[in-house]
C-alpha cells in the first residue's frame, strides 16, 4: 500500500517527509513497545504508535520501518521532527485512536507482520512470529 493511501485512509497530516509519500509500506505494526519492533519482521512496515519521543524515530530506523504514524492526534516534539527529517523517515499524525487506525488500514487490505518473510514483502496472515 502506498503511503499516500495510508495518509488518506487515516485522514493524517504529514509532519515530516512529505516527499516520501510515494513509498510503499508492506505491512502494519501497532505498538508502544520498542523491543516489539525489533523482534518482529518489521522491514518496510508502517508503525502506528502512541509514543511521541525521539527514541521512536531511532528505533524505527533500526527496525527498517517505512513510516511512523502517531495516533490520537499527538503532536511530535520538535526534536522528533528534526530526527525524522534527518533520517528521511516520514512522520504523520492521525486523529484516530490506535484501534480505529489499525482497523481502517486492515479493512483496506493492509496486514500485520505475523508471517511476513523479511525482505520479500510477501504478507501471509497466520504464521505467527
Amino acid at each position: 500500500m502506498k503511503l499516500s493511501e495510508v495518509k488518506e485512509i487515516l485522514k493524517a497530516e504529514v509532519v515530516a517527509g512529505e516527499e516520501h509519500l510515494g513509498r510503499t509500506v508492506v505491512a502494519g505494526v501497532g505498538s508502544d513497545l520498542m523491543s516489539d519492533l525489533l523482534t518482529g519482521p518489521t522491514a518496510d512496515a508502517v508503525l502506528l504508535t502512541g509514543l511521541n519521543n525521539v527514541q521512536v524515530v531511532k528505533t524505527a530506523v533500526v527496525a527498517g520501518i517505512g513510516a511512523v504514524i502517531l495516533v490520537r492526534g499527538k503532536r511530535p516534539a520538535p526534536d522528533m521532527v528534526r530526527h525524522a527529517k534527518e533520517q528521511q523517515l516520514p512522520l504523520l499524525t492521525t486523529p484516530f485512536t490506535m484501534f480505529s487506525a489499525c482497523g481502517r488500514l486492515f479493512e483496506k487490505g493492509l496486514r500485520g507482520v505475523e508471517k511476513k518473510a523479511v525482505g520479500t514483502g510477501e504478507v501471509k496472515e497466520g504464521l505467527g512470529r
Partner: protein, 141 residues
C-alpha cells in the same frame, strides 16, 4: 573488500545521543552494500546493546569489525554489571524503572533478541565487573 575497524563511545544516561552509534553502524554497512536482512540483524543487536549501556551500564564503547566474511560487534561498559546473567537472558526479565518504560523500553526482550539475531553471542558480566557482549555475524555470499 578491505577490512575495517571502528570504535564508538557510548555515554551512560545520555538519551540525546542514545542509539546514534548503532545508526552510524547501520549507515556504514548500507554504504558498503551488505544484504539488507544482514544489516538489520546487526543493527538490531548493536542498538539493543547500546540502549542497555545507556540505561543500565557505565562508560562504554562499541567496537565494530567488518570483513568480507564476518561482521562483529563488541559492546562493553564499566557499569555495575549483571549479577544473574541467566535471569537477564530470559524473555520478559527487566529491571527498567517507570521512566524507561514510558519511553517504550523495558519489555525484557533486548538480550533474547540479540541472542536470536547474532550467529555467535557471548556475554561476560558480573556484579561490579561491567558487561561485555560479543556478537558476530557471518557474511554469506
Amino acid at each position: 573488500m578491505q577490512s575495517l575497524t571502528k570504535t564508538f563511545r557510548v555515554q551512560p544516561r545520555d538519551f540525546v545521543k542514545a542509539g546514534e552509534a548503532s545508526l552510524k553502524i547501520q549507515r556504514l554497512l548500507k554504504d558498503i552494500g551488505f544484504d539488507p536482512t544482514l544489516i538489520r540483524r546487526v543493527a538490531v543487536c548493536a542498538y539493543e546493546s547500546e540502549m542497555n549501556v545507556v540505561m543500565y551500564g557505565g562508560e562504554g564503547k562499541i567496537l565494530l569489525e567488518v570483513s568480507a566474511e564476518k561482521i562483529s560487534v563488541i559492546t562493553d561498559d564499566d557499569g555495575p554489571g549483571i549479577e544473574d546473567i541467566e535471569k537477564a537472558l530470559q524473555e520478559g526479565y527487566s529491571t527498567a524503572p517507570p521512566e524507561y518504560r514510558e519511553m517504550g523500553f523495558g519489555a525484557g526482550m533486548g538480550l533474547p533478541n540479540i541472542k536470536k539475531n547474532a550467529d555467535l553471542f557471548e556475554i561476560r558480566s558480573g556484579k561490579g565487573d561491567g558487561t561485555t557482549l560479543v556478537m558476530s555475524f557471518e557474511v554469506r555470499q
